[in-house]
């Protein structure tokens, strides 16, 4: 076995010590990590840039669309108000009280033997008013003028009842008169009368009964 002399051992030891120098190793490690950080930073920077561009575009879009949306909202409110006004006007026109049919019924119900001297009526004023009153005065002439006046009341009651939901009528006055009239060559006694008709022109708005109250009334009915 040949003898081997390492005359460079001191140089090699120093080289090894230099390689194992913690400061050197640490510097290399920090450099590697720094490069990793820099790469990661650039990746993040690119992502942030893309997001920033998107945000900027969205922001631009918003600043363009926002005034238009505000104007659109204002216009929508304006149009809604106009539509509501139009609807209210249609409702108002439709809910008017029409007099011509009432006068027509009066005309048809009164016979030749009765002369009306006064008619007055007021339309229901306001949405919450459900009924109206018609006052009619006249002179009836017949062999039995009171019966004739009653016939007029019934006829008018029936005719108005065919048009309106609920009609009530009462005599305010019914008096025999000492005057006589001649009708178709016959001398007839007369009576003066005043009638009052209560007409329900609108249905009452039925409020929803509370559930508890409804249940209670049901229970009491059962009892």
């Amino acid at each position: 076995m040949p003898l081997h002399f390492n005359l460079y051992h001191e140089v090699q030891r120093q080289e090894l010590a230099r390689k194992r120098d913690p400061l050197r190793l640490g510097t290399i490690g920090i450099l590697v990590i720094s490069i990793g950080f820099v790469l990661n930073y650039f990746v993040d920077l690119e992502r942030a840039h893309v997001i920033g561009i998107h945000y900027s575009a969205v922001n631009d879009q918003w600043s363009r669309i926002q005034p238009r949306a505000k104007a659109a909202k204002a216009r929508q409110d304006e149009l809604n108000a106009e539509i509501a006004a139009s609807d209210a006007m249609i409702k108002s026109v439709d809910s008017r009280f029409y007099w011509a049919p009432v006068l027509d019924q009066i005309l048809k119900a009164v016979p030749r033997s009765v002369q009306l001297t006064h008619i007055s009526a007021e339309a229901p004023n306001g949405a919450d008013v459900l009924s109206t009153t018609i006052s009619i005065s006249g002179i009836s002439s017949a062999v039995e003028p009171r019966k004739e006046a009653e016939a007029v009341r019934i006829a008018l009651n029936n005719r108005l009842g065919s048009q309106f939901k609920h009609v009530t009528s009462v005599f305010k006055d019914l008096d025999d008169s000492d005057q006589f009239v001649t009708l178709d060559g016959r001398r007839l006694a007369t009576a003066t009368f005043s009638l009052e008709f209560q007409i329900q022109v609108r249905d009452p708005e039925v409020a929803a009964q509370p559930a508890t109250a409804a249940r209670k009334s049901k229970t009491s009915d059962a009892e």
């Binding site: 950080f37 002369q115 001297t117 006064h118 008619i119 007055s120 339309a123």
Partner: protein, 182 residues
């Protein structure tokens, strides 16, 4: 392996440098970048629904704009039927002409009251129309025509009295309201 005093010092320096690097990287580089990114993401998340709502609002208004003319045509038509000018100047002559056209020669119209109507843009005026000599049937027909031709007009009360001297005729008084432009 036993570390020498010098090596321990170097390791300490290397560790300190590494910590400094970490601090600088996260505090001054990555931190602000991520903060900006977070702001942008939050901004996008906030604005995108707002933009969608705004677009929907614009679409709704456009749709309403198409439908509105039909919905408001009635009101517009009625508004156009109201003459311009003071109602006291045009309404009584209009009524006189109307009743004359229906064979009722004499009529007098007086203003009773004037008030703002619940309908925006309109005023309500109450009138009294006196018809001193009228027959019942022409009166009924005139009222019928008036009610049908004048939707803004509402007859509030009707009074008919027989004329003692002439049984053929009656004396009628109509109280009516009409809407005029305010």
């Amino acid at each position: 392996m036993k570390l020498e005093q010098d090596q321990i010092k170097k390791i300490g320096i290397a560790a300190g440098a590494f910590l400094a690097l970490l601090y600088v990287y996260f505090a001054f580089l990555l931190g602000p970048l991520q903060e900006d990114e977070h702001k942008s993401v939050t901004g996008i998340a906030t604005l995108e629904p707002e933009i969608a709502n705004a677009k929907a609002q614009i679409a709704r208004t456009a749709d309403l704009e198409l439908k509105a003319p039909a919905a408001t045509a009635f009101l517009e038509r009625l508004r156009n039927t109201i003459p311009d000018g003071a109602p006291i100047a045009w309404f009584p002559p209009k009524m006189a002409a109307f009743f004359k056209s229906r064979g009722i020669e004499k009529s007098t119209t007086h203003m009773v009251s004037e008030s703002d109507d619940a309908m925006p843009g309109f005023r309500k005026i109450v009138w009294s129309i006196d018809l001193p000599k009228v027959e019942f049937i022409p009166l009924g027909l005139a009222i019928s025509t008036l009610e049908n031709n004048e939707p803004l007009l509402n007859i509030l009360s009707v009074t008919v009295d027989a004329i003692r001297e002439d049984a053929q005729y009656q004396h009628a008084t109509l109280v009516l309201s009409t809407l005029v432009k305010s």
